[in-house]
Symmetry: C2
Subunit: 319 residues, 2 copies
């Protein structure tokens, strides 16, 4: 049997290459002398996305599938991909770390750790530091995929009441209720904590505008571990300035010129009621890259062997 040809734009760890080679002829693109030939014969492409010029896809006449190493696929230029090529994301591979990170932001903001002052009374009374309690709080989680589920599970340790937001209406474990986003926005003022764990696509782009954000409860916390552009920057800036008791934590940033900038037009990341980190939530702990790549490679093997591959992207969500 002729093995499928798989190319990767990222260097994979040796153990994963060996695993893959049982099922495929594997090439790491950067080290391939005959790049043009390999591209023209490759059936599966593994890529981070940012390390690949998608215009090359025109040359890949035998390409059947793309497997991203990233969880999100919002960076993919969908117009460049022929209809015959299926796109698989690596959704779920970073869920545990991202979910933990969402809680790190929630707790830091709840307890005022971004505005520590050593005068006790000032700490306790300061608008930006005043500690709050998590126990028994109501948390609204936009997105009930891997990250959302992890956020909900961790919340149960704190005895939170978890409400999920999704399109399917399915209620995964650790959620008390699930709502549509329309109903969720109507009830936004009920929640102490709101977490955004959604992918960025045409439905979620600027889903949170002034009209929605203004409904946030006083002293509530909004955390974003999805994508920056799910929230409208100017609207959020306005709300955080107008209502300093609302606190925002984000590991994700707005894209300017198609690139996530660790800088903001409004200066929102410097507000005292905000914490911003430079998109590092998925990258926590030793061995993380191997583990998340491993998830993608397992899926590539499922693709090659026609064994129910996961995370097929519905391109209609993006175009």
């Amino acid at each position: 049997m002729v093995k499928s040809i798989v190319v990767s734009t990222a260097r994979l760890p040796k153990t994963l290459v060996e695993k893959l080679k049982i099922y495929a002829e594997y090439f790491y693109l950067d080290e391939t002398l005959n790049k043009e030939e390999i591209l023209s014969n490759a059936e599966v492409l593994i890529t981070w996305g940012q390390d690949f010029d998608y215009k090359e896809i025109r040359k890949m006449k035998k390409l059947k599938a793309i497997q991203t190493l990233s969880a999100g696929v919002d960076h993919v230029p969908f117009k460049e991909i022929p209809d015959s090529v299926l796109l698989y994301s690596n959704a779920g591979a970073y869920s545990e770390q991202c979910g933990e990170f969402a809680w790190a932001l929630i707790l830091a903001l709840s307890k005022g750790l971004n505005n520590i002052v050593l005068e006790r009374q000032k700490y306790l009374e300061g608008i930006y530091s005043k500690p709050r309690r998590i126990n028994n709080s109501k948390i609204l989680i936009f997105g009930t995929g891997g990250i959302g589920k992890t956020v909900a599970r961790i919340g149960k340790g704190f005895k939170t009441y978890n409400v999920g937001v999704n399109r399917s209406g399915n209620k995964p474990e650790f959620f008390n209720e699930v709502l549509s986003s329309e109903v969720a926005f109507e009830r936004l003022s009920d929640f102490d904590i709101v977490v955004i764990a959604l992918p960025l696509n045409k439905y979620t782009y600027k889903l949170f505008k002034y009209e929605q954000l203004v409904k946030l409860k006083d002293e509530s916390i909004l955390v974003n571990v999805g994508r920056g552009d799910i929230v409208d920057e100017e609207s959020l800036y306005k709300v955080l300035k107008e209502r300093p008791s609302i606190r925002y934590g984000s590991d994700v940033w707005w894209k300017y010129d198609d690139k996530e900038a660790f800088e903001t037009k409004t200066g929102i990341h410097k507000l005292p009621n905000a914490i911003f980190t430079p998109h590092i939530s998925g990258v926590s702990g030793k061995g993380f890259i191997e583990e998340s790549m491993s998830e993608a490679i397992e899926n590539v093997i499922r693709i090659i062997t026609n064994n129910n591959p996961r995370n097929l992207v519905d391109t209609n969500d993006y175009i």
Copy 2:
């Protein structure tokens, strides 16, 4: 029937006063005109401790019990208290908030939120910021009382392996194992996270000296929500300077001249691998004072009615 006389050095909320008045004659000491007379007749004293001159106890000939509003009783001058007077603490009344706060410190330190830099690579590689993963980590919790139990319960949301340290050998819910402190110190290098949730008494004073601290694992996190003096300041300072990958978080401080100073002799609180907050962990969220006072008042009612009062302090632990 003659009601017991109860005095409080702290102003109690109206609802609690009303509750108490069903069982006792109640006086708020500061507002009492005939202070000397009340003291000489009082059977129960409710106090924070810091707001009371314990020398007054000599005048309190009918005193049977003291109920502290604080969880810890390390501030009490035990020599001033006659053997006939029983001391009850308010242990447990702050457990939920303190346990949450321990996790706020653990997560902030794990994810480097105290050393955020916006250059992504610097953040990921920085000795003081490099993010770590909580999931599957091993956590050693000194003290399996209210705070320890809360820390263990919250840990389960993160899928931690929880090992408790206590004298009784009892294994409460959410703990995987329980050890004596001798065995725990022998195995200290096994743990990713170590939490101190002990009271300060003659057994725990400077329990963590250089000899113990030096066994901490590389890249481990030590969090103290017990009392500062459970750890020897100079030893800890030395370890944190020598091994910058170890991170320390503390809401509690060393006592200088019998007073918790939000300042340190060594300057340890300014180290980049440390977070210090000014003893605010118990004070999170609206209504916290009422709730924790309520626990104490419920116990006073148990004392008066001989109905199994809780948290009797063994003064031998202190003298």
